[in-house]
């Protein structure tokens, strides 16, 4: 089959990844992540000083600011801020930096669908770049159930999202394991460790778990890509010692 964006041939194919790290010289960590033509940049400052009223005695205060592609931030951006902050709060080892603040700013650079997933991936790369201690990394991917064909399409573009009956974004960490036993599909889907799940539209329970399953497999590719990106950066840093 041919997807609407014409570069992909399969329903379960992701768009090409692109990432860049350490781009902003005034931030402690920064990264850009692209899913095809969707691009999000993230900057991290911290652990830094925080206002007394926002100070937590035993943890770092995590603040997330989401800026849209055009215009002033609105309700949708506030909702994304909450989603990202609540997913990151258990992941960041904030107990190591009490009474400090970690500020994460996310800016959409190009929007062609799946922006929340792109934002999550850019954020984790920026956090790794900033050296913030984390329990694990995360990976995010969006999928839709097409209104006409009822097919599950991975990593939809804006055009594909317009035809969606339901849209699902999943975020998984890299500590969970999965058995490749296809006979136990339902059991696998329930045991998968999900950090964040956001679904809109009309869908059945079966569809939801099938989407979770498909997204989980795709997120492994995102994890692999993050690993490769960080590896390349570290190898470049160590060149003079190990060459």
């Amino acid at each position: 089959m041919s997807r609407l964006d014409r570069t992909r041939t399969s329903a379960h194919q992701l768009r090409p990844f692109f990432s860049s790290q350490n781009l902003l010289n005034r931030a402690d960590g920064s990264a850009q992540f692209d899913f095809g033509e969707s691009s999000v940049m993230c900057s991290v400052v911290g652990p830094a000083e925080v206002k007394l009223r926002d100070e937590k005695l035993d943890k770092a205060t995590i603040e997330v600011v989401v800026r849209p592609l055009v215009g002033l931030p609105g309700i949708k951006d506030k909702a994304r801020e909450q989603a990202i902050r609540e997913t990151l709060e258990p992941l960041i080892l904030s107990g190591l930096h009490p009474r400090t603040g970690i500020q994460i700013v996310i800016q959409t650079m190009k929007d062609d669908g799946s922006i929340l997933a792109t934002a999550f991936n850019a954020t984790i790369l920026a956090l790794l770049d900033a050296g913030i201690p984390l329990k694990s990394i995360l990976g995010a991917v969006t999928c839709i159930v097409d209104a006409e064909t009822n097919q599950i399409l991975l990593d939809p573009t804006t055009q594909e999202l317009a035809n969606a009956k339901s849209t699902h974004t999943f975020v998984f960490d890299n500590k969970s394991s999965i058995t490749s036993d296809s006979k136990q599909e339902d059991k696998e889907a329930v045991e998968v460790a999900t950090l964040y799940s956001d679904s809109t539209g009309l869908f059945s329970e079966e569809e939801y778990f099938e989407c979770a399953q498909i997204c989980y497999k795709a997120v492994q590719a995102v994890h692999g890509f993050i690993r490769t990106a960080v590896q390349k950066k570290l190898e470049k840093e160590q060149q003079q010692i190990h060459s």
């Binding site: 402690d28 960590g29 400052v45 911290g46 652990p47 830094a48 000083e49 925080v50 080892l93 190591l96 930096h97 009490p98 009474r99 400090t100 603040g101 790794l128 770049d129 900033a130 050296g131 201690p133 984390l134 329990k135 694990s136 990394i137 960490d173 890299n174 500590k175 969970s176 394991s177 993050i226 690993r227 960080v230 590896q231 570290l234 190898e235 470049k236 840093e237 160590q238 060149q239 003079q240 010692i241 190990h242 060459s243």
Partner: protein, 243 residues
């Protein structure tokens, strides 16, 4: 689950947060009475595993069965015993407030200098550069500094840095500059006489005969971060030729 095999120790073993150390590999030095020392970047988790919490290179020292992750970041987190460069931002009767690039300013006792007494103590102004040693640091309190070697009571190079210029670099590059075999410094020293102080908080102070040389040295240091030996030599050569 991403697990690390110890067979690959000879080449760079890159770990990401969430990667767990294999239990069998850690206890190879059974003569050390099953004791394990964890350095930066590794933390024990609730499920009794030892997990990397930062992205970096896994390192191991057989002496004391020490494991740590060598990572890079730009934000400094104070650690005891480190030598750092700070800027005086405030003065009180008992302490100087010194900005060391951490989340909070550090405190330097007014008498923490060589041979200082209440009647005879150095007088530093706001904006002065000081090369100090971190005498106490923990995550809950402001760090404390001193401008002398604690065992001998002598200055040993600590104290005010007059003139010169300070640049901000990443912590990893600062650590590499402390290596006596560092390439860019050796190459620069062949062409320009200069003096330098490296703070492990990512600040480097450079002083030479004139401003042009100082700027050249600072640029060469900044540029050298992601270059290999050949590229580094070429870079220094081209900068020196333009002089």
């Amino acid at each position: 689950m991403a697990s690390i095999t110890t067979e690959e120790e000879s080449k760079l073993l890159i770990v990401l947060p969430g990667d767990q150390l294999p239990e069998s590999g850690l206890m190879e030095d059974s003569s050390a009475a099953h004791r394990l020392t964890l350095g930066p970047g590794l933390a024990p988790m609730d499920d009794d595993s030892i997990t990397a919490v930062k992205a970096g290179i896994l390192k191991h020292n057989a002496v004391g069965n020490r494991w740590w992750v060598e990572s890079n970041q730009r934000r400094y987190v104070a650690a005891q015993g480190e030598s750092i460069i700070g800027v005086v931002t405030g003065k009180s009767a008992e302490h100087y407030k010194v900005d060391i690039g951490a989340s909070q300013p550090a405190l330097l006792g007014v008498l923490a200098f060589e041979g200082a007494t209440k009647r005879n103590k150095p007088n530093h102004n706001i904006g002065d550069l000081l090369y100090c040693r971190v005498s106490m640091a923990n995550k809950d309190m402001e760090a404390e500094l001193e401008c002398m070697n604690p065992t001998t009571g002598k200055a040993d190079g600590f104290g005010e840095l007059k003139g010169g210029f300070v640049i901000k670099i990443s912590l990893g590059l600062a650590r590499r500059l402390l290596d006596p075999k560092n390439l860019v410094l050796r190459l620069l020293g062949q062409h320009i006489p200069f003096e330098m102080a490296v703070g492990t908080n990512g600040k480097v102070w450079v002083n030479s005969a004139n401003a042009q040389h100082t700027i050249l040295i600072c640029n060469a240091i900044r540029n050298s971060e992601y270059l290999n030996s050949a590229e580094c030599s070429a870079m220094v050569k081209s900068l020196v030729e333009k002089m």
